[in-house]
Amino acid sequence: MKPAPQLLVLTLGQGLAGGMTASVGFLASIGGLNHRLALLLLGAALFCAILGGGASFFHMHHFSAARYILRRLKTSWLSREALTTGLFGGTLFLLTVATVWGRLALNSPLYIALAWLVTFFGLVAIFVTAMLYASIPAMLSWHSPVTVLNLLAVGLLGGSGWGGFFGMVEHGPSGQLAAAVAIFLVVTGAVKAFQWHVFSLARHRIRATTGFGLPFAPYRLQDSGTTRAPYRTQTQVHPVISDGLRLRMAVVTAIFLTVLPIVLVILSQIAAEWGWMLGAAISITLGSIFERWLFFADATHSSRVFFADEPREASRVAEPVMRGRLS
């Protein structure tokens, strides 16, 4: 399908904000949080949350109806997303204000509890957004629990990467932060590999024989009703990306999201230099962008079966004609 820039920014911003808030909670729990470090992390998280929230607002095309967005909380994950993302943004803002205010001891049980509460709201927001994608049966690539795991893992990885960088700059417990980043790198790599397998299975489910419910085979789609498929009015059937582009993007994603950061995190611990961790955080962020682009661009929708995206096979009716011409 066609990746919408607003959705890329929303999911990435929300994930990074959730991950960075989790870093604050983690650091507060182990007593490794100082005032500047907390401000840096919360400020960055708030920036990402605002970026994501703003992008989600502009994904709407009919603003006057936005006031009805919470009408279907009972059934719609998008309604729930608006509520939970708003709740996360609001509580994150209040925690940042409380930190700037400075009256609350950063290692006090109350602050730790508040940090974990905001983290919980952040994780719930990511979960709800992921469920929005995972709960649509027609989006064959996304209709899997792996989608939820993927969005949570990438978000936590990105947040912990920046948490590790800020932690090293502000002389926090860099070893523990690096260990957290390493764990998320391994988990994200495994989840991502499994999800690409799910995407591959989804691509192979798109066959005309299933879409048309008819007993005869094979089928060849000749015409989708107009001179070409409705790529402009139906973005979910946007042409599938080529095998070459898919492979290139997967390799680039794997390198930036997992391979390069692992090397850089190890180097940061050997050299005790924050520059390496900065490189790891930037690499993870770039990898997340590539990963999310591929997540949307390579998604297979069931309606593609009606729009000529099945691999084309030459008609055997024309074979004798072609043979005659060639001879």
Binding site: M60, R71, G213, P218, L221, H301
Partner: protein, 221 residues
Amino acid sequence: MQLTIVTDLNKCVGCKSCQVSCKEHNTSGAYGPVPDAHPRADVDGMWWNRIVTMESGAYPNTSVMYLPKACMHCYDAPCVPVCPTGASYKREDNGVVLIDYDSCIGCQLCMWACPYGVREFDEEEGVVKKCTLCIDRLEDESLPEVERQPACVQSCPTHARTFGDLDDPTSEVARLVSTRQGFGLLPELGARPSVHYLPRRPEPPRVDKETLEKVMAERYE
């Protein structure tokens, strides 16, 4: 009550009169819901009813079939619960799935949720639109009774399309579905479409392979 259309795939000749009559009825100049502001420049614009053409079978016994595809007005319409504003809804009195354009925010989530790709996004108004089963005709009491049916059904020259209440076991559509093994598309996705199709009957081969190759050899070799 569940209003629906049953299409006999043996009778459909792919003339696209239903596709065109749908566009004609629902465009109605500048006031209709189907945008058609630049008909010459944008021939691939919005269509609520599309005739998909398939070549089926294996050489030498191939044939072409046509599948009119519009909103399936599903019993468990997946586009309805995903809508955050309640703009997509299913009418309880007749089962027609409709969109309230005033409360649609244009998020397009319903387009993702629809398994059939029959919802289309109107970029100018920023809302999603789709087949209404010509609800304006069905409820127009100024029309004669015989004309209170969707434009695509009325315009079909071969009477391939039949309109009626699927929940009424005495109706023509219920009889066709039950006696001729009517089927819905993509049943594995669980939407329970109300629109059904009557399967094509297998046709005996009209030409054997030897005859065909003889003719081809005479003409091309």
